[in-house]
């Protein structure tokens, strides 16, 4: 089970790296084309948005597994005691419930989007597929929240401050 999860996480890491790299290359080429040669890449904005969506919802399970979400650590001296382990479990349950709710709602949204043929603005990419991806990402995040933490060397989210 653990090996399977590790492999899955490795695949997600590749997806994250490639999506971000594609986003940089696409934006870079689009801006050069748009501003210097008056020849923007058609659908570049649309693709950038989709790549961002892939990054957010693929990265969510890994970030949640690494317990990398932003927390206020003022009371850590008290809350990080062994006797407070039960509270950490409650927190993870709450996170799982919230992510489960988001996942469920995006299944509903995906069905609606498929019914009304909702598509993106420029490239007319069907939204239903993306909403299914959001749902899978959110459910996987919920699961990751309930499983034991898996620290990740590349999670340094405190550097956003």
């Amino acid at each position: 089970m653990s090996t399977l999860i590790s492999r899955l996480f490795k695949v997600i890491e590749v997806v994250l790296i490639l999506s971000l790299l594609a986003m940089v290359l696409l934006t870079f080429a689009d801006v050069i084309g748009r501003r210097f040669f008056n020849a923007p890449i058609y659908g570049a904005h649309d693709l950038t948005e989709h790549l961002m969506a892939i990054i957010v919802f693929s990265g969510l399970p890994l970030l949640t597994a690494a317990r990398g979400h932003l927390c206020v650590d003022l009371l850590d001296r008290f809350l990080m005691r062994d006797s407070m382990r039960w509270w950490h479990f409650v927190i993870q349950l709450l996170v799982a419930a919230a992510l489960g709710l988001i996942g469920y709602q995006f299944i509903v949204a995906a069905k609606d989007a498929a019914d009304i043929l909702e598509v993106s603005h420029e490239l007319l990419i069907p939204r239903a597929y993306m909403y299914y991806l959001f749902a899978v990402g959110a459910f996987a995040g919920a699961l990751a929240s309930l499983l034991p933490a898996r620290r990740h060397n590349d999670v340094h989210t405190e550097e956003a401050l």
Partner: protein, 430 residues
């Protein structure tokens, strides 16, 4: 109004009890909206908020600028900058600390994070300062304070988040941060100079560099200056939007790192994953904060606060002073991002109703949260520094920070009193 206040208290309570901020905001806002409008409205609003944010081209500015900062910070540019600054300033009294400040400001111009700036500089500048006999308190405090320039001098992650939350133009916010950021640098350098004059034993002179060394030292830093000028010159001239500039910045940073052979496969992987995770974290808190902003508006909390403020008869600048005091107090118990995510939706209606400019308000909010990063008990920069420099005591760092906090407060008052310091460049740009 009452519901809004209860929800605000619940968000703070959950956040202090270590529930991740994204989920404190999301859960409370979800139930708050459901209380008034029913669960079906609330759940629709939750998914709409998320999909609107995810499918927003403007928000793509966040991962791209984070990536640019990561590429340039992990490829050793800070050491080159420090070498160059030191070649020009090192020989004067307090010169190494002055060089540290200039390097922090320069590094801030490519990196939007205060903590990353402080962490990088502790490895680059601290050993040199110790080698020349600088006191622990001045050496560490210069780095902790210098790091705070990271969130004001563009690009700045905090300013991006503020811009997204208030729907203010991120490019204009960046340009507005330039003069206050440089002012911060000047004030910090003044503080170091004064310390070096009155306590010369804290800050001995370094070695003098000859003209050849000075010219050679610039070799490693010119691509980085060219990049800064291209990006922010482009934003200023309205040639690029903030997202376009971020894409250009990340693209050129990648090219520079590859051409100068400063990137290995391992560092490439680390840089991209780090930027992805930080972006996912920021998007998650943004989902929560955007939903919370809707709750603040729907529950009548914003109107209630506004009515209370009007009833109090306080004038514009008195209000700003009170808001700043609230931010300073919260800064003692929360980090800057959390404060901005929770408080900005509450205070923006007051700021707008009193005729203040949201860009100016953004700048002073960032300056006040900068101060929070170096004030006890939760000065995040101090904690980061302590982790990389375990032999330096907290007391020594905080003692060294006193002159910097003093000039920071003076700068805050100056920026509040003279809004054109923040707005002049933006008005010229418009």
């Amino acid at each position: 109004m009452t519901l809004g206040l209860i929800c605000l208290a619940a968000v703070l309570l959950l956040a202090f009890l270590r529930v991740p901020l994204a989920f404190s905001l999301m859960t409370v806002s979800f139930f708050g909206i459901a209380w008034d409008y029913g669960y079906s409205t609330s759940i629709t609003m939750l998914s709409m908020t998320i999909s609107d944010a995810v499918f927003s081209y403007d928000l793509a500015v966040v991962p791209l600028f984070i990536l640019m900062g990561n590429i340039l910070s992990k490829t050793g540019i800070a050491a080159d900058l420090f070498r160059a600054a030191n070649a020009y300033l090192g020989h004067i009294r307090g010169g190494l600390a002055l060089s540290t400040m200039v390097t922090c400001a320069g590094f801030s111009a490519v990196c939007g994070s205060s903590l990353a700036t402080a962490a990088t500089m502790s490895k680059v500048a601290y050993p040199s300062m110790k080698k020349y006999g600088y006191s622990d308190s001045l050496a560490s405090a210069s780095i902790a304070a210098g790091g705070t320039l990271g969130i004001l001098i563009p690009p700045s992650i905090i300013l991006m988040i503020y811009g997204i939350l208030t729907q203010t133009n991120i490019g204009e916010l960046f340009i507005a941060g330039v003069i206050p950021g440089l002012l911060g640098l000047a004030f910090y350098m003044l503080a170091i100079y004064v310390v070096a004059i009155f306590r010369p034993q804290h800050a001995p002179r370094g070695e003098r560099s000859d003209a050849a060394e000075k010219i050679k030292s610039l070799k490693g830093v010119w691509p980085f200056f060219a990049l800064f000028l291209l990006i922010f010159g482009g934003i200023y001239a309205k040639f690029f939007t903030a997202t376009e500039a971020a894409g250009m910045g990340a693209g050129f940073a990648l090219i520079i790192a590859l051409l100068q052979k400063r990137m290995t496969w391992a560092s490439f992987k680390h840089i991209f994953l780090d930027a992805s995770f930080t972006s996912v974290m920021l998007y998650s808190v943004l989902f929560g904060a955007m939903l919370f902003a809707k709750l603040v508006s729907f529950s009548g909390l914003a109107e209630g606060i506004l009515a209370a403020v009007e009833a109090s008869g306080l004038s514009g600048f008195e209000l700003i002073a009170i808001i700043m005091i609230i931010f300073l107090l919260l800064g003692c118990v929360m980090d800057s991002l959390a404060i901005i995510l929770i408080c900005v939706p509450l205070f923006v209606p007051i700021v707008l109703a009193n005729g203040f400019d949201l860009i100016w308000f953004g700048i002073i909010v960032v300056v006040v949260t900068e101060i929070a990063l170096i004030t006890p008990p939760i000065g995040m920069n101090v904690f980061v520094l302590k982790a990389t420099l375990p032999n330096v005591s907290f007391a020594a760092i905080f003692r060294g920070l006193v002159p910097f906090i003093t000039v920071d407060l003076a700068r805050l008052i100056l920026l509040i009193a003279v809004p054109s310091l923040s707005l002049a460049l933006v008005q010229a740009m418009r």
